[in-house]
């Protein structure tokens, strides 16, 4: 179970739009709120294009046990720096929090080995959610399966599996 922490970057799913605020499911005990002004270049007239069901990569501005968590898609200096709505296509799945920490470690072998396979894009949320997008559906699913299975495989087994795919 994920506990929202201030400053953490997470992937949220938009579940509702309540006037000026979006409600996001971040995998915690409560829904997080996200104001439509918390995007780069957003003004009252220039609203961001966010629909229910969209994926958002953002960070927590407020996250304590007394208040509802609040997210923003903007950094300290007002730039988006990669945050915001995550594009079309791709695949979202959940893994354990420990695996996320392992994957985000500075020299993660899994990520290095995967990056040799084929071009793809990856977004890792600290709340245990990963979004993957590759050129074909098959490639995407291969990456998803490898990441999910990584937790239980040893390094050798992993290299075996990747060896099979690097030929393709």
């Amino acid at each position: 179970q994920y506990v929202p922490v201030r400053g953490d970057h997470v992937i949220g799913i938009v579940t509702a739009k309540a006037g000026d605020v979006f409600k996001l499911d971040v995998g915690g005990s409560e829904l997080a709120s996200l104001s439509y002004l918390a995007f780069e270049g957003a003004t009252k007239r220039n609203r961001p294009n966010v629909q229910v069901g969209d994926l958002i990569y953002g960070r927590f501005l407020v996250a304590n046990k007394d208040m509802e968590p609040e997210m923003v898609c903007i950094d300290g200096s007002g730039r988006s720096s990669g945050m915001g709505v995550i594009g079309q296509d791709g695949f979202l799945f959940k893994v354990s929090l420990g695996l996320i920490r392992k994957l985000l470690a500075p020299k993660c072998e899994i990520i290095q080995e995967l990056s040799q396979l084929y071009p793809f894009e990856l977004v890792l949320g600290m709340n245990g959610r990963i979004w993957v997008k590759a050129k074909t559906v098959q490639q995407t699913l291969i990456i998803v399966n490898i990441l999910e299975a990584c937790e239980h495989m040893t390094a050798e087994q992993r290299k075996q599996v990747l060896g099979k795919f690097s030929g393709n």
Binding site: V3, H9, Y57, G82, A105, F120, E121, L122, L124, A134
Partner: protein, 153 residues
């Protein structure tokens, strides 16, 4: 309610006495914790709830083999932000002119400009000539007056 100590007629001394007594009565009615003063212990423990600084985690968005060039640019930017901070601390920009030198220069020029203001006209002209002498080697003693030049056909 009229407290006795609020009466104007009384002496200041009796006022004070009465004030103290009545304060006691009032304060006894207020509830207070009868605990010994607990000193706030200086805790050496700082609570850090996020994992990011503990393990020096990378930025969450990644792209490989040029799938999303913007994200790849971001990756380089974000992941070198941590290292940049270290470099900044190590070398400071060495100023071309030291602070003292700078202050001295400023002061001298300032004295010069304000001093000029109070010069008499003759002295001002002398100053001007001196400046111009510095620029050109040979020049006539009198400045050539600017005349109207006829436009040539």
């Amino acid at each position: 309610l009229s407290f006795q100590f609020m009466q104007r007629g009384l002496d200041s001394q009796t006022k004070k006495q009465l004030e103290e007594e009545e304060k006691k009565i009032i304060s006894e009615e207020h509830w207070y914790l009868d605990l010994p003063d607990l000193r706030e212990k200086e805790s050496f423990i700082i609570e850090e709830r996020s994992f990011m600084p503990c393990e020096d985690l990378l930025y969450g968005r990644m792209s490989f083999k040029g799938f999303n060039p913007e994200v790849e640019k971001l990756m380089i930017q974000m992941n070198s932000q941590g290292k940049e901070e270290e470099i900044e601390v190590d070398d400071k920009m060495e100023a071309d002119v030291s602070d003292e030198e700078m202050a001295r220069r400023q002061y001298e020029t300032l004295v010069g400009t304000i001093g000029k203001k109070f010069l008499r006209k003759r002295d001002q002209r002398v100053l001007q000539d001196e400046d111009e002498d510095g620029n050109t080697n040979t020049r006539p003693s009198k400045k050539a007056k600017k005349k109207f030049l006829k436009p040539q056909d």
